[in-house]
Amino acid sequence: MSAAPTRIAYFPGCAMKDQARPYEEGALAALAALGVEVLELPRWNCCGTVYSLSQDDLMRHVGPVRNLVRAQTMGEPRLLTLCAMCYATLARSERFVREPERLARINAFMDDEPDYLGGVRVVHLLELLRDEIGFQALAAKTVRSLDGLRVAPYYGCTLLRPRAIGVDDPDMPTVMEDLAAALGATPVPFAERGECCGSFLTATSPEVVQERTGRILASARAAGAELIVTSCPLCQYNLGAHRPPAMPETPMVYLGELLAWALIEGACVPEPLRSLPAADACMGASA
């Protein structure tokens, strides 16, 4: 809640340069407006997307640790992520290599890199906004209000679980609802907001993902959601691609799009918001 942080290193991950580009554009514009200097790693590689859960495949921690080395080389103590999956993979690997023996083996393997010395803190966009900028300061920076729009945040898994790295209480998260309220929306907490969409099963068991997606969307609709907001590109893909054909579409945006819309003068209204009554009112107010 104090002065805005000055700078932070940034790991984009694959989705931010591809299907989640509107998330990155919106988030970076919003952070610039909030006075945060965001430094993209000059070189980065895939985080692995899913954290390895077995004890003996150190190989799968090399990707995340290489990215931590890049932040360390820049002299930055923190690494920002926008993608919920990148956040969990990097934050968990960072904890995994706190054990010296593991770290020594990974450093020995990556002998073409400087050793990772430990201590880079992985930070998700939501933590930066809540813990350093503060939602009150954020609300003071809005150029248009979401005008009571009924916004339903969908957390999915990796923002909340495991508990050790979750950005909020896995059973009763409020961070995205509080953020939506700061932007002038009416937050709509719904029962399935932290329940898995099926994740990578989309490429092995799409019928399971369709069943999950149907339940999640039905839960949001039953709670009266006019808009769903996510911070995970895979959740966003699954909820979009596997919506049951008979179910009407609920507009859906990335967290970054919502921020830019509220914080950037003249920001383009995200496509899914254009048909909403609140969108017109807000556009009129800002014109």
Binding site: G13, C14, A15, D18, Q19, C46, G48, T49, V50, S52, L53, S54, Q55, D56, D57, R60, C83, M85, C157, L160, R161, P162, R163, P170, D171, E195, C196, G198, S199, F200, L201, T202, A203, T204, S205, P206, V208, R212, P233, L234, Y237, A241
Partner: protein, 131 residues
């Protein structure tokens, strides 16, 4: 039909259970079969054994657990991890079983790829079906 279950010190703490423990970092014998993991599992309907039953088979050293589809139906969402009153991260046990099945040459869940799959789905799914 009757089922006979032989409980013996030779199968309890069997090499197989120890191997799963080593790979997962989770003590299977910490589980007291309350079933909370299965009650909250979003994917249990698609499993041929419930998560707590999978863990029970591991406790009993029963290697037939490697032939089940349950580990492949797990999305590693960790709903069980945050709810287990005994601190067992069953998602890790499921991962260990996937790894052991793969390393024993058993067939993993098949990839069904679509042109519009984002990289994040392909990398995630591919990692789960390779060792």
């Amino acid at each position: 039909m009757t089922t006979m279950l032989v409980l013996s010190a030779r199968t309890l703490h069997a090499p197989f259970a120890r191997r799963v423990e080593e790979l997962s970092g989770q003590n299977p014998y910490a589980c007291y079969q309350c079933g909370k993991c299965s009650a909250g599992c979003l994917f249990a309907d698609h499993m041929d054994a419930l998560p707590n039953q999978v863990l029970r088979l591991v406790q009993l050293g029963d290697e037939s657990v490697l032939d089940l589809n349950a580990p492949w139906a797990c999305a590693a969402c960790l709903a069980c991890e945050v709810r287990c009153p005994r601190g067992v991260d069953i998602a890790r046990t499921m991962e260990a079983l996937r790894q052991l099945a793969l390393r024993a040459g058993r067939q993993p869940a098949a990839l069904r790829l679509e042109p519009d799959h984002p990289q994040i789905a392909l990398v995630g799914a591919t990692r789960k079906v390779t060792s």
